[in-house]
C-alpha cells in the first residue's frame, strides 16, 4: 500500500471517530431517559385512568365537580415539569437532537394541549371520547420515544 493510500485510510478512519472505528450517528442509549420516560408514561396513564373513573357508567357523563379542570391543573403542571426535566437532561447529551425534539413535543402535548382539551371543555370536564383520544395520542408519542431509545441499544447489539 502506498504512503498516500495509508494516509487516506488513516484520515478516513480518523474522520469517522477517534479511538477505534465504531462510528456513532446518534447518541448512546441512556438508561435514565428510558426509566424517566417510562415513569412519566405511567404517571400520565394513572391520571387519565383517574379521569375515566369519574365517568358515570349509567349516564356516560363525567361526575361534577371532581372531574373539573381545577382539580387536575396541579397534576398537569407536575407532569409537564417531569417532561421538562427529561428535555433538559437530553439537551446535554451529544448527537441527541432527535430524542430532545421528541421530548419537547411530549412536553408541549402535556403542558399545553392536554391542559387546553380539559380547560376548554364546555363543562370543564373531559368526556370518555376525549380521554381516549388523548390517551391514544400520548401513547403514540411515548412509544416513539422509547422505540428510538431502545433501538440505540438493540441496533448496536448491546441489548
Amino acid at each position: 500500500m502506498s504512503t498516500a493510500g495509508r494516509w487516506a485510510v488513516v484520515w478516513c478512519c480518523a474522520s469517522l471517530t477517534v479511538g477505534g472505528c465504531a462510528i456513532r450517528l446518534v447518541s448512546e442509549y441512556d438508561e435514565a431517559t428510558d426509566r424517566g420516560v417510562t415513569q412519566l408514561q405511567s404517571d400520565v396513564a394513572s391520571q387519565l385512568a383517574q379521569l375515566k373513573d369519574l365517568i358515570d357508567p349509567q349516564t356516560g357523563k363525567p361526575k361534577h365537580p371532581d372531574c373539573e379542570f381545577d382539580k387536575f391543573s396541579g397534576a398537569y403542571s407536575r407532569l409537564a415539569a417531569s417532561a421538562h426535566v427529561l428535555v433538559v437532561r437530553n439537551e446535554a447529551r451529544q448527537k441527541n437532537t432527535l430524542t430532545t425534539e421528541q421530548l419537547k413535543l411530549l412536553e408541549s402535548s402535556i403542558g399545553e394541549e392536554l391542559v387546553t382539551v380539559h380547560r376548554e371543555s364546555d363543562d370543564k370536564c373531559m368526556n370518555a371520547g376525549a380521554i381516549q383520544v388523548v390517551s391514544d395520542a400520548l401513547d403514540q408519542n411515548f412509544r416513539a420515544i422509547l422505540k428510538l431509545e431502545l433501538a440505540k441499544k438493540l441496533y448496536r447489539g448491546e441489548g
Binding site: 495509508r6 387546553t116 382539551v117 376525549a130 388523548v134 420515544i145
Partner: protein, 109 residues
C-alpha cells in the same frame, strides 16, 4: 501487502447490505402501524366533533397533540434509519478490519 480494493469493496458491501436487510423490515412495519394509528385518531377527533362531544377549541388542541405524536414517530423513523446506516457502516468496516490492519501494520480499524 497491497490491499485489493475490489475484494475489500465486495466484503464491505456484503456486510452493509446484511445490516440494511436486517433492520429495514422492522422500520417499515413500525411506520405502517403508527400511520394506521394516526389515521384512527384523526377519525376519532372528527367523529367526536361532529357528534358535539368536543368543541372546536378542544378539537384543535387534540389535532395539535396528534400532530406532535406523528412528528415524534417520524423522528423515530429518522433515528432508526440513522442507526441502520450506522450499523451498516460499522459492519462494512468490521468486515475488512483484519485485512486493513494487517496491511498498514497497526490496529487502524
Amino acid at each position: 501487502m497491497a490491499l485489493n480494493v475490489k475484494s475489500l469493496a465486495a466484503a464491505m458491501l456484503g456486510a452493509a447490505q446484511g445490516k440494511l436487510q436486517e433492520h429495514w423490515p422492522e422500520v417499515r412495519e413500525y411506520a405502517e402501524t403508527e400511520t394506521r394509528k394516526t389515521a384512527d385518531t384523526l377519525a376519532s377527533i372528527e367523529r367526536l366533533l361532529l357528534a358535539g362531544q368536543i368543541n372546536s377549541k378542544q378539537a384543535k388542541a387534540l389535532l395539535r397533540m396528534q400532530r406532535n405524536s406523528a412528528q415524534s414517530v417520524l423522528l423515530t423513523i429518522e433515528g432508526l434509519g440513522l442507526l441502520t446506516v450506522e450499523s451498516a457502516i460499522n459492519a462494512a468496516l468490521g468486515a475488512v478490519r483484519d485485512t486493513v490492519n494487517g496491511a498498514v501494520g497497526f490496529a487502524l480499524l
